[in-house]
């Protein structure tokens, strides 16, 4: 990545940090449940709760009817808080953008339970950006979804910040670690 690009990204990250720091200092809410992920790394704006205690309770209901084999279905285990058209139906996969679209370098993070091992995992809900709506396999899951004044937990936002263009194509759900 070029240093120019790094600088832009840093500026975005710095603003997000400032935003979060100012508000979380009051009650520390965001610190417990939200995280902004850029690339593969969680930015240092928010310590992440690795116990997954809170998210786990939220994700439980979805996991009861979830499956782990078909990412073109709305009950695929990673989609516990997804909203939009599933990239797996559009020429991509849960962590692959369809041809000609870009994974957003930013995302919000949810916690879903894998019904096979009962473990909670952190899922980065990144949009694939750069083409108009894929239009296939619309899913709406709202476990733990919060209003937009808590953006790290909101699924209405076009999560394309930092992508070459902000046109929403489809929704992906990349596995980024254990909760």
């Amino acid at each position: 990545m070029s240093t120019v690009a790094m600088r832009v990204l840093d500026r975005v990250a710095e603003r997000m940090s400032r935003l979060a720091a100012q508000r979380t200092s009051r009650r520390g809410l965001l610190a417990r449940i939200g995280a902004l992920v850029v690339g593969g790394a969680v930015l240092p704006l928010l310590p992440v709760d690795r116990s997954g205690r809170i998210q786990r309770a939220r994700a439980q209901a979805f996991a009861e009817t979830a499956q782990t084999t078909d990412p073109t279905q709305c009950n695929y285990w990673r989609y516990c808080a997804i909203d939009g058209y599933m990239c797996s139906c559009c020429g991509g996969g849960p962590s692959t953008c369809p041809p000609g679209t870009y994974p957003s370098p930013s995302s919000w993070v949810g916690t879903c339970i894998n019904p096979d091992d009962g473990q909670a995992y952190l899922i980065a809900y990144r949009d694939c950006c750069g083409k108009d709506s894929c239009g296939q396999c619309a899913c709406l899951a709202t476990e733990g979804e919060m209003p937009v004044y808590r953006p790290q937990l909101n699924n209405d936002i076009v999560w394309c910040f930092g992508a070459p263009n902000m046109v929403y194509h489809c929704s992906s759900a990349a596995l980024i670690g254990k909760a």
Binding site: P147, P151, D156, V167
Partner: protein
């Protein structure tokens, strides 16, 4: 064999400018002078363009973001007394609408790319004449706007209608201010971490913050430093957050937020900002036991002349906050008593109520139908089916 020729462009840039002039009077004014008699037919009809009367309180503007084709959104103008379509506007990517208090202008905040989905991005406020539904100008938003499934509190006019406030998250949060009288971009105010705009005066607004508080902003259109005052948390944003769509009445200064669990936070527009003055619940023990809770998208409407509050309600568990309403519950906002439960044939996402003395209640369904009720007797007046692809928001005059 004949010899052909390469020809130069017929319609260039100049050609389109000419064609634009051409349109004005063509249908009416072109005569038949100089044509041979056999080429002239008796013309029994003029071909005209409809012009609407003054905006009626019973009209509703229905914003459809068109989920399968987000760059081709539309706003339908619907006469509730029918209901029937009066016209429409083409809008850009995830647009927002605002209606001038004097009913003479419609403001659309929208985003375009030069080649539909690619190329240079432009964010604009487009001004429309509500009678002709033609754009009359635009103001560029140089800092952009928040790209999200359209929500009403993304865009709002100050109480006197002079300044348009456009919420922006890039992801830093700011509010872009446009002087709509001079059609001029004033600037962006940075309000870190808080979201949406709820105007409280001619040059002031409040916003919702992640800790359950409001922040109050007063700006100087001449460029002086804005004043930003933090409020105290009034709801628990972890256990029971309030919905983004509040009912805000410019007319009587009353504001209603509703939480996921059905708690009402009543506010008042004060000179110093939006002040939360009371709190009560939409549901009693029995309702709660049956699983009734508010939900949908624009799930709340308020009729200022009669102080009535309308809320979309459904039965469901926690985290069903986006589930469409099975019923509209009607409350007296003064006694906080439920006056009626109106069952909906089509579960509804969004609600609006006209602000006149013979009010209509509008319910917009997931199945792209708009049902109109008498908002006093709750009698169903009619349903418009097939209203676009995914209509989501409703706007009436004098909200």
């Amino acid at each position: 064999m004949i010899r052909g020729r390469w020809t130069p462009p017929l319609f260039g840039v100049a050609g389109f400018a000419l064609a634009l002039q051409l349109s004005q009077g063509i249908a009416q004014e072109r005569g038949t002078e100089g044509l041979p008699p056999e080429a002239v037919l008796e013309v029994s009809e003029e071909h005209t363009t409809a012009v609407l009367p003054e905006m009626d309180p019973h009209w509703v503007y229905v914003l459809d973001p068109v989920f399968p084709h987000l760059i081709a959104s539309k706003i339908y103008v619907v006469d509730g007394d029918g209901p029937r379509i009066l016209g429409m506007m083409n809008t850009g990517y995830v647009p927002n609408l605002a209606v001038a208090p004097d009913r003479n202008t419609l403001f659309v905040a929208e985003t375009y790319y030069a080649r539909g989905t690619r190329g240079a991005r432009t964010d604009v406020i487009t001004y429309y004449d509500p009678r002709t539904l033609e754009p009359t100008g635009e103001t560029v938003l140089p800092r952009g706007r928040f790209l999200v499934v359209p929500k009403k509190p993304n865009l709002a006019l100050t109480t006197d209608g002079r300044y348009l406030l456009s919420f922006n998250m890039e992801p830093a949060t700011t509010v872009s201010v446009v002087d709509v009288r001079e059609r001029r971009y004033v600037g962006d105010i940075e309000v870190p971490g808080c979201a949406l705009v709820f105007p409280t005066g001619p040059t002031s607004f409040s916003m919702l913050c992640p800790d359950g508080s409001l922040v109050h902003v007063r700006f100087d259109p001449e460029g002086g430093e804005p004043e930003i005052v933090d409020g105290e948390p009034f709801f628990d944003s972890e256990a029971d957050p309030v919905f983004e769509h509040a009912a805000v009445s410019r007319t009587d200064g009353r504001v209603f937020f509703v939480s996921y669990e059905g708690r009402v936070y009543e506010g008042a527009l004060q000179p110093e900002g939006l002040d939360i003055v009371a709190s009560w619940s939409l549901v009693n023990e029995e309702d709660r036991a049956q699983g009734w809770r508010p939900g949908g998208w624009q799930l709340l409407a308020y009729h200022a002349p009669s102080d009535r509050l309308f809320v979309l309600m459904h039965r469901g568990g926690p985290w069903t906050h986006k589930q469409p309403g099975e019923e509209v519950w009607v409350f007296d906002a003064n006694t906080r008593r439920r006056l009626a439960r109106v069952p909906l044939a089509h579960p509804a996402l969004s609600l609006a109520v006209s602000q006149d003395d013979s009010p209509l209640l509008f319910a917009l369904s997931e199945a792209a139908s708009l049902t109109v009720f008498d908002a006093v007797s709750f009698e169903e007046k009619g349903t418009l089916e097939g209203l676009g692809d995914s209509p989501f928001l409703l706007y009436v005059a004098d909200e």
